[in-house]
């Protein structure tokens, strides 16, 4: 259920986002999901890609400020989002950030909480459907 996510420091400047994405796609890195959080000055671009380690190295070589972070991935199938959130709230967990996307008719939730280990425990206990990195990439 642990997936490597790449975070990239982005300045709020015209063309920055497309420059970074082109850097990866030019090297045949497939982008599975992307989200941008922003303030007025800068943003953090978060990416799930097919080969996170290689993508990370490409970015480093290009002198891009990037970070590799572990996040949790869940398939939402029969459970609805509100219910899943309720489980986490009951367990006293806070969401730092999350984003959803669909892949091959599955709804996938990417999640980072204030306590990843306790979150894993909730996922196991409540029989939620975790997604492994290999599954995500091969879907």
């Amino acid at each position: 259920m642990t997936v490597n996510q790449i975070s990239i420091f982005l300045e709020n400047k015209y063309g920055k986002l497309s420059d970074i994405l082109a850097l990866l796609t030019d090297q045949n890195i497939r982008i599975i999901a992307a989200t941008v959080a922003d303030t007025s000055e800068y943003g953090i671009l978060r990416l799930i890609v097919c080969e996170p380690q290689r993508a990370y190295k490409i970015l480093k070589d290009a002198n891009v400020s990037a970070n590799l972070t572990e996040v949790l991935a869940l398939s939402l199938d029969s459970n609805n989002l509100a219910k899943v959130m309720q489980y986490f709230t009951e367990a006293g967990l806070s969401i730092e950030y999350m984003y959803c996307f669909s892949l091959k008719e599955k709804s996938i939730l990417i999640l980072r909480t204030n306590n990843q280990e306790a979150t894993r425990e909730v996922i196991r206990r409540k029989n939620l459907t975790p997604i492994a990195e290999s599954d995500l990439i091969n879907l």
Partner: protein, 433 residues
């Protein structure tokens, strides 16, 4: 403790001052031969026989950069031009150019001062010294070249720029010492790491001389750590030959100014009166060995103070404290006087930040604002709140230091212009007229 010239470097103060007085009298006599000083002396009714003590120096008027400009090119020469063997000229980016002339003896004295400085920080004839200064008119090139050769060091006149070539020389020639501008030292270290060269284990570097632009103690420490060297601060200015006027000893606590070549005064730049040792003021220098172009009470515009007390190294020549900037790069913002070096000192304390930063002063809605852009060393976190907290912490420290609140902008690594020459750290976009 080893000295290049033990007798002079450790000369008791009384003897040193007597020596200075004799040299001063000779210098005033010699200076009178130049058209500029001839007129100045007659305007102020000054002659060498009025000088009975070093304090009498204060009877003389100051010499300024404007005087050098007004007397461009040869009106300050105290010997016939045919007896001069070298000329250095400033580029004149901030006004008309200036010229400094040298006789053969002047060049030899200059080389000796530089050799003395280098020997003081442990450079020996067994070392390989690479000079990354621009050559030509810039005195950091030939000044260090002649000094290092006088010392007997194998000297590599690599000159400025082309980092990959610099690194190749450092590796191939087994360079042990560098002369380098501090902003370029951090840049060169970055390029080494990018190239897979660890300067601490893959090179023989042990000592570097840094100068020519103000830098903070934090930046020095960072350079030392990045390159695995000891870094020593050097002070010089083209009007006073160039490098070699003052230099740190291995104590790294102040720069010994060679008082057998130069008389040092510190004055209040407003009242123009001398300030006591330990108090910050403008450095004023008088050459007492130069033949071709003596300068009397030259106002350097550099702000510093004399460090009180004896140096453990045993040298009796007094020490100048780390330069606090120049009276002309002072920024006046909202009635607050501040120096770029203050900003740098704060920024360098944060390991999350890189070496490159830019201060922009501009008028926004009729109010002068300071924007500080600084590069992150890398994205060390995935957490927004951590970045925002970092911004807040830096801003708070800057506010405490500067007494005003700048706008801080974290920017991505590599997004500010790369500084390979003398770094431009301040852009003042305000209109003053």
């Amino acid at each position: 403790m080893q000295y290049w010239q033990k007798e002079i470097e450790t000369m008791p103060r009384k003897e040193l001052e007597a020596f200075q007085l004799e040299r001063l009298k000779e210098t005033i006599q010699a200076a009178e031969q130049s058209p500029f000083y001839k007129k100045t002396f007659s305007d102020h009714q000054i002659s060498a026989d009025q000088i009975h003590s070093l304090a009498d120096l204060q009877k003389l008027p100051f010499t300024t950069k404007d005087d050098l400009r007004a007397n461009y090119p040869f009106n300050m020469a105290a010997i016939p031009i045919r007896e001069c063997v070298r000329l250095h000229s400033s580029s004149g980016t901030t006004g008309d150019p200036t010229v400094v002339l040298h006789s053969a003896k002047d060049l030899d004295d200059w080389a000796n001062q530089v050799a003395r400085c280098m020997y003081m920080v442990g450079v020996r004839d067994t070392d390989v010294f690479q000079n990354t200064s621009g050559y030509g008119m810039f005195t950091g090139g030939l000044g260090f070249q002649y000094g290092a050769e006088k010392l007997g060091t194998l000297t590599v006149p690599a000159a400025a720029g082309n980092s990959k070539r610099q690194i190749k020389f450092i590796k191939d020639f087994g360079t042990t010492c560098l002369h380098i501008i501090p902003s370029y030292a951090t840049r060169l270290a970055e390029v080494m790491y990018e190239e897979g060269v660890d300067p601490r284990s893959d090179t023989k570097l042990h000592t570097i001389c840094i100068g020519a632009e103000p830098h903070s103690e934090e930046q020095r420490k960072r350079i030392e750590q990045l390159l695995g060297v000891k870094a020593y601060n050097c002070f010089g200015m083209s009007e006073m030959n160039g490098p070699g006027v003052a230099f740190e000893c291995t104590e790294q606590n102040g720069l010994h100014i060679w008082e057998d070549y130069t008389i040092v005064e510190i004055i209040d730049p407003i009242t123009l009166q001398a300030v006591p040792d330990g108090e910050v003021g403008e450095l004023v220098l008088t050459t007492i060995s130069r033949e071709a172009m003596p300068l009397l009470r030259y106002r350097t515009r550099d702000l510093t103070c004399i460090i009180k007390g004896d140096c453990p190294c045993g040298r009796t020549h007094r020490r100048l404290a780390r330069f606090q900037g120049r009276s002309d790069d002072m920024i006046i913002l909202k009635g607050v006087n501040l120096f770029p070096i203050q900003v740098e000192t704060i920024l360098m304390q944060f390991k999350e930040l890189g070496n490159n930063y830019l201060i922009t002063i501009d008028t926004v809605s009729n109010s002068d604002e300071m924007l500080i852009e600084v590069e992150l060393s890398d994205l060390f976190t995935d957490d927004y709140s951590v970045l925002q907290q970092l911004s807040k912490d830096i801003t708070r420290q800057l506010r405490d230091e500067l007494l005003l609140t700048p706008r801080l902008k974290l920017v991505a690594k590599g997004s500010l212009p790369i500084q390979e020459g003398k770094a431009v750290r301040v852009k003042d976009l305000r209109k003053f007229c």
